[in-house]
């Protein structure tokens, strides 16, 4: 089968051998050329050869408010490095290095020792955020201490004291878990990305792209000659928010140290003018690298400072829910003709449900029930409507679902219904449970933004907007596709009902209403208070002094009562009474109206104030305690006014 004869031609075999010889001679020639005839050239090249890729860091985009005032910026942070790829004995220099950098010499020596077994091309990071004089020290000693080098990074500069911390968010190094998610596929380990708030939501816009600079480094680690190649960095783009700093300041001051949230929104467009959550945290702690101790403290704090209560707290709305009940009742044709006698309580399904006024409100119709917040009226209304119809109207007004605001991790709240109870508890809904829903207790849970948006819709004759904190003009299309900033749904509300309800709400702040102390002369505010129980009244009575069980105060108000310019929602945790929340809200509304009418500055009507100065809200940078680093401060600037009333300049052609 296999012929032994007919071996392949000997000539061909020999030819192959010669081919192989030729190949090897060619290779040998290549070796000769590189190593012998050009050996010196390559040795020199090896000496000079260290090509180092120095990244040119891209600054992150700034965040500004609706008027272009800077809220978040970057600052230049320099880190001192110790290069190890030279022949110098680092231990000998350690003392001098330590003194120049204001470090403990033992610490420097320890660091050097710890790095002995790592590859030489890895530098040691000696000290972060060095001061200008330490920078100068390194520069001045470039010859004596060539192993010292610096690397510059941009770090985020956030307003102090947690101002707007929840809306802004913070940045940090991208984690392993994040890298596995599809939206972070293109990022590398070590990149700084947003971790919460708009820093996270709009990270793609804010984050720039680092460039690089290729430099030759000689055997002493110094840069030699011009950069080989330079790819410029693409800075991040600026993000404009819809927030107004003046209003934000007013809202933050109003809420102060109290727990809760404030939301101020434009009901026409859904633009968020202010958003506060307390307690707050300092995002500057994250800007360098947060220590695990500080992080644990934040995460384990029972007050949950990292929680943005405006969008992440879901609590019983209390009496504010009565407005939604009113709309439901009117649309179903029940509420307009309902007249109830309130004697301080009523019985339903064998249980007694009390009214907050022990003696009762007397004869109550819809209007009175709203401004007096009569519980008995709404018990009756709830009983007549039934949970499913209540749920229908509540969801049509956006409750029980996310509003779609462009901030991460919004909660959806709960609007109970028969189907909801079956699905989640496998139990039938009992008619008796509907009664407490009528006054916003029981299984109902809303977030401040949801409630604000719902009331805004009612105030705008059924216009349900999508709240957003970022200005959509100028955003790239992929954001516009996902977030429907300008999406408006129309909820059918009968015009008569709308008029009656908003009129009733405007009486809430009058002497006959539930929050007369929040009234501000000269401003027509309509709203609704709410005091939501956290536990039953009986339990509360038993634990008289336990602050955690205190009721939550709610208030949502708007001005003017028809076609309002602004809606403000306040959650005052532990505030006990809605009227206290109302006072916070009206402070914010006053600030807004004053700004509209330009009251404090007096510039518009040309009248200087008594001392010739006016106050405007602003944010500026100033050196911190050590005098070397910049930080952002916010407050009021006093601006000198001209003595003569100024003539307004004639508009230049083409300008409005």
């Amino acid at each position: 089968m296999f012929g032994r004869d007919e071996k392949p031609s000997q000539i061909r075999l020999t030819a192959v051998q010669y081919m192989i010889l030729v190949i090897f001679l060619v290779l040998a020639y290549g070796l000769w050329r590189l190593q012998v005839s050009q050996g010196d050239y390559y040795s020199a090249a090896a000496e000079q050869n260290r090509v180092r890729n120095v990244p040119i860091l891209a600054p992150r985009g700034r965040i500004v408010d609706r008027n272009g005032r800077i809220i978040v910026d970057n600052y230049r942070s320099v880190t001192a490095l110790l290069m190890r790829d030279s022949t110098r004995n680092l231990m000998v220099d350690a003392d001098e290095i330590a003194s120049g950098l204001h470090m403990d010499p033992k610490e420097v020596k320890d660091k050097i020792r710890r790095f002995t077994y790592t590859p030489q091309y890895q530098p040691i990071y000696l000290k972060e955020d060095i001061t200008p004089d330490e920078e100068a020290f390194i520069e001045a000693h470039k010859l004596e201490l060539p192993e010292l080098d610096t690397i510059m990074a941009y770090r985020r500069l956030y307003p102090l004291k947690g101002f707007m911390a929840h809306v802004i968010g913070y940045v940090g190094e991208v984690s392993e878990g994040m890298l596995n998610q599809p939206r972070f596929e293109l990022y590398n380990s070590g990149d700084i990305v947003g971790q919460s708030g708009v820093e996270l939501e709009y990270n793609d816009i804010l984050m720039g792209k680092n460039g690089s600079r290729q430099v030759l480094v000689d055997s002493h680690g110094r840069e030699v000659g011009k950069p080989l190649e330079e790819k410029p960095a693409e800075p991040g783009k600026q993000l404009k928010l819809t927030v107004d700093i003046d209003l934000q300041i007013a809202a933050e001051e109003a809420l102060g140290d109290k727990s809760g949230a404030v939301v101020a929104m434009d009901p026409h467009t859904g633009e968020i003018l202010a958003m506060v959550s307390r307690p707050t945290f300092d995002p500057n702690a994250f800007a360098v690298r947060i220590t695990s101790k500080d992080w644990s403290k934040l995460v384990n704090d029972p007050e949950k400072p990292l929680l943005n209560r405006a969008i992440q707290a879901q609590l019983a709305p209390g009496s504010t829910f009565k407005i939604i009940m009113s709309v439901a009742g009117w649309q179903e044709g029940i509420a307009q003709n309902l007249n109830v006698q309130c004697n301080g309580g009523a019985e339903f399904y064998g249980r007694r449900f009390g009214c907050w006024v022990k003696g009762g409100h007397g004869q109550v119709d819809l209007t009175k029930a709203i401004y007096q917040s009569c519980d008995v009226f709404f018990y009756n209304l709830a009983n007549k409507l039934g949970i499913n119809r209540i749920a229908q109207y509540a969801t049509s007004l956006g409750l029980g679902q996310k509003t779609g605001i462009d901030l991460p991790q919004e909660v959806s709240g709960v609007i109970p219904s028969e189907e909801w109870k079956l699905r989640n508890f496998r139990q039938k809904w009992f008619a008796g449970e509907t009664i407490s829903v009528g006054i916003g207790q029981g299984a109902v849970a809303v977030s401040p933004i949801q409630l604000t948006r719902a009331i805004a819709a009612i105030s705008m004759d059924g216009r349900l907007v999508t709240p957003h904190v970022a200005d959509p003009t100028g955003l790239p299309s992929n954001y516009l596709e996902v977030n429907h900033y300008n999406e408006v749904k129309n909820v059918p509300v009968d015009a008569n009902g709308w008029t009656l309800i908003t009129d009733a709400m405007s009486r809430v702040l009058l002497p006959e209403g539930t929050a007369p102390s929040a009234h501000i002369p000269g401003i027509d505010i309509a709203g609704k208070t709410g005091s939501a129980q956290v536990v039953s009244l009986a339990t509360r009575a038993k634990h008289q002094n336990n602050e955690d069980l205190a009721q939550n105060g709610w208030f949502v108000g708007f001005t003017p009562r028809r076609n309002p310019d602004i809606v403000v929602g306040v959650l005052f945790q532990g505030g006990e009474h809605g009227r206290l929340a109302a006072r916070l809200a009206t402070e914010v509304i006053k600030a807004y109206v004053d700004k509209q009418r330009r009251q404090p500055t007096g510039l518009a009507d040309g009248k200087p104030s008594s001392d010739g100065k006016a106050e405007i809200g602003a944010i500026w940078t100033s050196p911190d305690e050590h005098g070397d680093r910049e930080k952002l401060e916010l407050g009021h600037l006093a601006v000198a006014l001209p003595n003569k009333p100024r003539r307004l300049a004639a508009a230049a052609p083409g300008l409005q």
């Binding site: 296999f2 012929g3 032994r4 004869d5 007919e6 071996k7 392949p8 031609s9 000997q10 061909r12 075999l13 030819a15 192959v16 051998q17 192989i20 010889l21 190949i23 090897f24 060619v26 290779l27 040998a28 290549g30 070796l31 000769w32 590189l34 190593q35 012998v36 050009q38 050996g39 050239y41 390559y42 040795s43 090249a45 090896a46 000496e47 050869n49 260290r50 090509v51 890729n53 790829d85 077994y117 790592t118 590859p119 030489q120 091309y121 290729q214 055997s219 080989l228 190649e229």
Partner: protein, 361 residues
């Protein structure tokens, strides 16, 4: 048959030279990975070599005629295993080369397929008895190699696919390829170039471009070649005392693709020529075994191994010296890597196989 076969006939000299090359490789791997995350790789290499030696001995015991008889089944198995990789393979570094087996073992069939191809080509040409190759034989031979080649190309793994080519070329050449047929092939290849360029992946195009002009992309594929040249050149006559390029990690992957560059840097012209000389001796020795083979099949078998070995050396050292574009082809016996080492020793086992039976009728 076993009675006539004794280990006296084992080519101990060949084994000796091979082991010298392997030892040099192990030392170079050790020094190149000393302070890196690959430290300890040289120990793994020693295990691979010992495993390879065992495999070589076992391989030499089986009569190669037995293998040739079953080559049809093995060929089908090879094609099937390539098919499995194409369908179920894991993507790693952009290509589907492996299949994960239960137990966590990675199975890379393309190396086994090479061995089987050598056998298949040997068998095919052994059965032809004419002096010159007919067109149909030529095409059939092309198909035998071509089909697995295309399957590997589809992974996509251009580098490994190309290593199948020398087997075909050697077989055709020794089998009596007519110069007319050779001309046709070259013509077709020339016409197919633009088409092939179109189908190349971007990184492959990059490599070819930077091969033509290393400075065009100083920090990409051109970077590797540049660093390799500098490493080799700075070795001078006797080796560079600092060995800075390897030590400071400027030379990329010094323990695998660029091990020859690392060695040349450390041992200079003298050392590098020594290694080349060793390889040359090995190849000549192999060819001698081919000439003393008892039959046609044996000759083709050994020469197939010679072809693959030469191709690897040419492409790898050529790449290190800047003659050839960067490919992922390792330097046999020296580069760190189990599949390459195993393949070489098994192939040598087959050669031993043939040599040991050269006196058998």
């Amino acid at each position: 048959m076993a009675r006539y076969v004794s280990f006296k006939d084992f080519d101990w000299a060949l084994v000796g030279f091979v082991l010298v090359i392997c030892t040099l490789g192990v030392f170079e791997i050790r020094s190149a990975t000393e302070h890196t995350k690959f430290a300890g790789a040289h120990l793994k290499q020693i295990y691979w070599i010992l495993g390879g030696l065992a495999g070589m001995f076992i391989m030499s015991l089986l009569n190669y005629h037995m293998l040739l008889e079953r080559v049809h089944w093995m060929y089908i198995g090879a094609v099937a295993s390539l098919m499995v990789v194409l369908i179920f393979g894991q993507k790693y570094l952009g290509a589907r080369r492996w299949v994960k087996l239960p137990g966590g073992i990675h199975f890379q069939p393309s190396e086994w397929v090479k061995l089987i191809l050598i056998l298949a080509v040997a068998k095919y040409f052994a059965e032809l008895h004419q002096r010159h190759l007919s067109w149909s034989d030529f095409i059939k031979a092309g198909a035998i190699v071509g089909v697995p080649m295309l399957m590997v190309l589809a992974q996509p793994d251009l580098g490994t696919a190309l290593t199948y080519l020398p087997i075909a070329i050697m077989g055709l050449f020794l089998g009596g390829l007519h110069w007319k047929q050779a001309a046709v092939v070259l013509l077709l290849a020339g016409l197919a170039m633009p088409l092939a360029w179109h189908h190349l992946k971007p990184y492959q195009k990059d490599r070819l471009v930077s091969f033509m002009e290393p400075d065009a992309d100083a920090k990409g594929s051109g970077y590797q070649v540049k660093q390799s040249l500098i490493a080799v050149g700075s070795g001078g006559l006797f080796g560079s005392s600092q060995e800075s390029q390897t030590r400071l990690a400027f030379l990329p992957v010094p323990q695998t693709d660029f091990i020859f560059a690392a060695f040349s840097e450390g041992h200079g012209f003298v050392g590098a020529m020594g290694v080349l000389l060793l390889y040359f001796i090995v190849l000549m020795r192999l060819t001698q075994n081919a000439q003393t083979a008892p039959d046609r099949a044996g000759t083709f078998l050994v020469m197939g191994v010679v072809a693959v070995l030469t191709f690897h050396i040419l492409v790898n050292v050529g790449m290190v010296l800047g003659f050839m574009p960067v490919t992922g082809i390792p330097l046999p016996l020296m580069s760190y890597g189990g599949s390459s080492v195993l393949f070489m020793f098994l192939a040598l086992g087959m050669v031993m196989n043939v040599r040991m039976r050269r006196f058998v009728n």
